[in-house]
Symmetry: none
Subunit: 353 residues, 2 copies
């Protein structure tokens, strides 16, 4: 089993985490190594295991509990494992998204035997794939009590900023139908692709909202992400499907988002294929205020759906805060700046130490 | 190898042809079976082979030669093979387009050892796909002399009518471009699918011409036959391609047709991918007059591009005449009426016997 030294420099720990490949579904070796390291190097924590996820928590009877969560899986490797240092950068698959955040949390797990708040560390699997495989979702279903907390911090890459809440996301298929005919006798058919014109017109003319919530600005968007129609080069198509993705501000819940999309495409056949609610910023909670004070920064809106929305749904305020750069996530050139890792360790020590 | 009985009732022979699947590119087994049947059951013919095409011809030294041609490929099967009889109909993929015509010709190939005119039978491949794969085109390039004739009859479905000339056909791809972005930050991208809206608007609003030539009325049509765009469910697409098919009356030549389509989609990136000229009716030739007399009918315009235009381009008068119903071509419900098959056999016996 690979050995992880939780007491090492967190940048070296990040490199060690990157060097144990953990593409979604294949996190077993890394979960084993983390579990072993937590059991032996952080004996003040109780360690729990669920599939390829590892939890570790204090039980000090503090008034509040803070949960620090990071997924340990990565997107597929793109010739970027093992990690390598190049000047001021640590390159490698998952450096930004989000083994740098994992390294910060794992380092603190061993380094803070007497934190100000009770702590729960969650290192979980399968965040980069379909929602129903998500390790945090599995823990929520099977061990809801493991996730109890007054504040959750997700180590997703934010470049050291605090990003609050998240957009919701809805996908729907809008289908137009017609009647097939040979294209040489097209007057006998009805063209389903031509019939999709008003769908595209509504998309092109859609005015997306900008919403301000708790000082965070959420921009919505409604986009066609796919269009497909056609049978053969000489056939009038009898079906055309436009797949749209609606990213919505968290002042709409899932039902309201669906209703809105149905109104936009009123009169068309529409099937929702994927729907995840957003999360409100939740900045009013005392633990959130305390954390913001420790960072000395102002929060902004998170664009993109993240697991903070799971915590929001459980009534737990949740923020994204991690050392990685979100624009480098999933790229071949993925890297992280050691200074950002050190800064995150400092901020969290200030908050929790 | 499947066995074909050329001396059977032509309706049963049609069913047997349908029961050997022959989607474009996969005509090998049917071509093999036809070649074997012609060699063994029509020993008065010389048999030639080119790829998945089979030719058979008399060499009687008659004054005139009539060529009877049918493609043996079909569009993709739509749960309609094997064939089935239902009352007065024979259902199945290719029944109408155009294995009924093939059955009539194959039957006559065996049944007319002493025809009035020399005969050339051509059973060819890949008519339902891109023009450059067309078996008749390949024969024209490689064995031009095999196609020598004073009149060509194509067994394409005409419902027993004589259809003269044919529409031309042009395919073009119209591409709209944008800029990729994560759909959660869609304002950083430009949606190429939304940009295709005016292309569909021009198609939906297109007013097609009706043209009268030699008493035959040609209807034009401009249709989207395919649309495709999209990268992934969370990405703003950077490309969308609309494939259009323009069927044009033979008073436009290929260049004029292309210019017209470029005018319709002025301002868009457009690439012509396929362009075949139409054919003027060509009703003046003596053999054509003789054939018209045998049918006792008046000719009308052919809708659809057919290989008559290849013969027209070679200076050979060519007519479409077949037992299938063109409106059923390429449909799930494709079928043919046995009485139409019998009628075509009678007419051609009267003309050639």
């Amino acid at each position: 089993m690979p050995h992880l030294d939780l007491t090492a420099d967190p940048v070296d720990l990040c490199a060690a985490l990157v060097d144990v490949p953990s593409v979604s579904g294949e996190e077993g070796p890394l979960a084993d190594a983390l579990e072993e390291a937590l059991r032996t190097q952080a004996p003040h924590l109780s360690v729990l295991r669920s599939g390829h996820s590892v939890l570790a928590r204090t039980e000090l009877g503090r008034e509040r509990r803070v949960l620090l969560a990071g997924h340990i899986d990565t997107v597929p490797i793109a010739d970027n494992v093992p990690s390598r240092r190049d000047g001021d950068r640590l390159y490698g698959c998952g450096t930004s998204d989000m083994k740098a955040g994992d390294a910060v949390f794992a380092h603190l797990a061993a380094a803070l035997p007497e934190p100000r708040h009770d702590l729960t560390f969650v290192f979980y699997d399968c965040e980069e794939v379909e929602a129903d495989r998500n390790g945090l979702g599995r823990i929520e279903r099977e061990h809801r009590d493991w996730l109890a907390a007054d504040l959750a911090l997700l180590g997703e890459p934010t470049n050291g900023a605090v990003e609050a809440g998240c957009q919701g996301t809805l996908r729907a298929e809008i289908t137009t139908r017609g009647r097939r005919a040979h294209s040489a006798r097209s007057w006998l058919g009805e063209n389903a692709v031509h019939a999709a014109e008003p769908v595209l017109r509504r998309l092109a003319g859609y005015a997306a909202r900008d919403v301000d919530i708790d000082g965070c600005r959420y921009r919505e968007g409604l986009q066609a992400v796919r269009i497909a129609g056609g049978v053969a080069g000489n056939v009038v198509p009898d079906e055309c499907v436009v797949t749209v993705n609606f990213r919505f501000a968290p002042d709409r819940d899932a039902a309201a988002a669906e209703q809105h999309v149905r109104e936009v495409f009123d009169g068309f056949e529409l099937a929702v294929t994927d729907l995840s609610p957003g999360a409100l910023p939740g900045l009013g909670a005392p633990a959130a205020q305390e954390f913001l004070a420790a960072t000395g920064t102002r929060p902004s809106a998170k664009y993109g759906w993240t697991d903070v929305s799971r915590f929001a749904a459980l009534g737990i305020p949740a923020l994204n805060y991690g050392p990685g750069d979100p624009n480098l996530a999933h790229t071949r050139e993925e890297h992280v700046e050691p200074a950002k890792i050190a800064e995150a360790v400092d901020v969290l020590r200030r908050f929790l130490g």
